[in-house]
Amino acid sequence: MSNEAPGVIRGKQLWSAIRSWESLGLMVAVVVLYASLSVASPLFFTLSNQLAILQNAAFFGIVAFAMALVIVSGEIDISVGSQAALSSSMLGVLITNQGVSMPVAVVIVMASAALTGTFTGVMRAYFGVPTFISTLAMYFILRGMAQLLTRNFPFPIDRDLFFYWGSGKLFDTIPVAAIYLLLAALVVGFIARKTVFGRSVYAVGGNIKAATLSGIAVRRVKILVMLISALAASIAGLLQSAQLSSGNSTIAIGLEFDAIAATIIGGTALTGGKGTVLGTAIGVVIIAALLNGMVLLGVNPYAQQVVRGAIVLIAVVVNVWRSRRTLA
């Protein structure tokens, strides 16, 4: 019984806390990825490139955080790309064709996205339509509506201010999009961890029957989750419009893939009930860094697609393997 005993125990506890930390494996993956990309390309680990990564990450990252809530609640949203495109198209048409002022147009666009999200949520909560199906339908409906609105031509938006809010740089260095990304992570993280609604999302995804019996407003949770996802997709569409200075119906193709992929790489269980915003954030960084690195290395764009898909498969296998290990 030496005097050091408590210290030793604390050290051990810290070590076991680190070892059992869910995101540890992911952090290791990030470090390995960064190390190898830095070695492979001298351009990769520079401040400007890292900020560019964050800026690009914002487009799907914001959606990914909301997607994490959706998947934790046991649902899925594959309509996010089309929602982003519709939001962008509506913005272009409202501002350029209808002469609506920018703030009003943004409010209208986001309100209509909220309505769409509420609709899929209500379909799920009250009519039992699986979100996989309803958002698959929305995937086509929303994209089609965007194309109808714009006849598939970009609507140029000539607003300096809007451009600044969307793709400007703070102090001429930090992209505002990166700040939005950070804000989104903080907001969704706060919702998930610190609010009654956030914890209810986990409960509903963890066992919907028990959630019902425990007096959670299960329907409200499902609707809210889909609404948040649609809003996030709409914001991604607005950001994209700002960067392109146009309302565009062809943007954000494959957005759902990157968002879902980041969520899954981040350790979110597709069966619901489990997942963290921190993990998703790491997933976002992994995907964004990987895409950026492949461009820097001049990887064939078709091969890039193969890598993207393969990463998701590997992530799922790792998740399943890990959950089996903890059950045993």
Binding site: V196, G206, N207, T326
Partner: protein, 500 residues
């Protein structure tokens, strides 16, 4: 009763420290129907599982036709001539009757199912059973009685020597039961030996030749059905009351009704059930499996769509009931099916305890971490929940501790009325005693509790009053201190009046 078909010789099986079956001998003759009786946990299913190859005995042996057998698994036992019809239906809803009967052994040519053979096998199996069901009907279109018959027909494929039926009548109405019992007798007359597991006393003399009673893993009695009365059987099943068993002291009734159910009916499972619960009492619900105890509670909390009748809380009728609404009104239900309806397996113990409290005793929007931590600590302390940390995933802690957490969840929400459905199921003795104390303590604080238990010894120990349900109707009321297990069991198994 000449030739011995199945013979278990002093089989013993234990799970960890728990001995589920101890030195049980069990002989079954050709064409004999043997009723296997006992309470939950008496060892019936363990014995069935040993005979049917799901478990291997720790010691002792099983002989079939005089040959010692050691099954490698259920399919080996099935091939060897032992067929089991489990209580839960195992039909594939979208497949036809013929496909279901031959499920798992579809005759095929180069991977193509030989439909003619499938129908032929299914037809002869149904014929052996003596029923007519369309071979091409989808299983989901059948009534539960027909489904049960298809299950049995499925078991008859491969000409088993021994047919084990586990609660085959639990989903059937009385006419269907009669038909089924007749069919079982007929099968027995063709030489098949039947092990009939059931809780329904009145079926036993109609179907069985002999009966075996298990209690606490031991064989208590095996004799001819004709030689015993159902009262004798009931007392053999429940056992003598233990000397140490505590019996609740009589308490004055408060007389203030907090919850009243009037004429609750539901899909033939509840028939005009009525009762009232008074402030600060523990009210037991006794009855056999399928007597409607769970359904009655579920109807009150609004889980059963289409149940009729009136529920009054403090004299006020509550319409459009839902678990959420009832919780908001101070009434909570803890489910019997802990895994399916109780716990959130991937969430921590703390989250499991807090879900109902949030938005009720805790703030609606923002979490109050400090108060949450205190509630969790109180709950873990007062219920003696064992876990490595409050954050431990509840799916990884023991069943008894999970059960306590589910009760802790209701307590954390500060409810005035608790409906506890089998709260002590799967809980060890020490934890049970702790739960009894918690329940009595709550009642003394003025909380009103309904307590459902299949373990009848619990009722005199915990309940001020007990109601007996039969066929979804509340029949008798017994004072808690007079509610001996034998008395409750006898009432629960009482034959129904014919005119019903």
């Amino acid at each position: 009763m000449s030739d011995l078909v199945l013979s278990c010789k002093s089989v013993t099986k234990s799970f960890g420290p728990v001995i589920a079956l101890r030195d049980v001998d069990f002989d079954l003759h050709r064409g004999e129907v043997r009723a296997l009786l006992g309470k939950n946990g008496a060892g019936k299913s363990t014995l069935v599982n040993l005979i049917s190859g799901a478990f291997k005995p720790d010691s002792g042996s099983i002989e079939l036709d005089g040959q010692k057998v050691v099954w490698s698994g259920p399919s080996a036992a099935q091939a060897g001539g032992i067929a089991v019809v489990h209580q839960e239906f195992s039909l594939v809803p979208g497949l036809s009757v013929a496909e279901n009967i031959t499920l798992g052994r579809w005759p095929q040519n180069l991977g193509v199912i030989d439909i003619a053979r499938v129908r032929e096998i299914a037809h002869s199996s149904l014929e052996q059973l003596g029923v007519e069901i369309s071979l091409s009907a989808e299983a989901q279109s059948l009534s539960s009685a027909e489904q049960q018959l298809v299950e049995i027909a499925k078991a008859l494929v491969g000409n088993p020597r021994v047919l084990i039926l586990d609660e085959p009548t639990s989903a059937l109405d009385s006419r269907e039961v009669e038909t089924l019992l007749g069919l079982i007798r007929r099968l027995a007359s063709t030489g098949i030996s039947v092990i009939y597991v059931s809780h329904r006393m009145k079926e036993i003399p109609l179907v069985a030749d002999t009966l075996t009673i298990l209690r606490d893993g031991e064989e208590i009695s095996t004799q001819d059905v004709a030689a015993v009365s159902s009262e004798q059987v009931a007392s053999l099943i429940s056992g003598q009351p233990e000397k140490s068993a505590r019996v609740i002291a009589p308490r004055p009734r408060s007389g203030r009704v907090v919850l009243e159910a009037r004429g609750i009916s539901y899909a033939g499972r509840l028939n005009n059930a009525s009762f009232s619960l008074e402030a600060g009492e523990v009210l037991g619900l006794g009855g056999l499996l399928g007597s409607g105890r769970t359904e009655l509670l579920q109807s009150i909390v609004g889980m059963l769509r289409g149940s009729t009748g009136t529920v009054l809380l403090n004299g006020e009728e509550i319409q459009r009931r839902s678990p959420r609404k009832m919780l908001n009104l101070g009434l909570g239900y803890t489910p019997e099916d802990r895994k399916g309806w109780g716990i959130f397996p991937v969430l921590g113990l703390d989250e499991n305890i807090l879900v109902s409290a949030r938005g009720r005793v805790l703030p609606k929007f923002r979490r109050s971490l400090y108060r949450e931590r205190r509630i969790v600590a109180d709950s873990i302390g007062s219920l003696h929940i064992q876990a490595s940390s409050p954050q431990q995933e509840i799916g990884t802690i023991s069943g008894g501790n999970q059960q306590k957490a589910v009760i802790g969840r209701a307590l954390a929400a500060n409810l005035q009325i608790l409906l506890l459905d089998e709260p002590t199921r799967g809980v060890d003795l020490e934890a049970k005693a702790q739960l009894y104390d918690v329940i009595r303590g709550l009642a003394n604080e003025g909380i009103s509790i309904i307590f459902v238990s299949s373990e009848l010894e619990e009722i005199p120990e915990v309940c001020d009053r007990a109601l007996i349900l039969r066929n979804g109707h509340v029949h008798e009321e017994v004072k808690g201190w007079e509610a001996s297990p034998e008395k409750i069991l006898a009432l629960a198994m009482k034959q129904e009046d014919v005119h019903e």
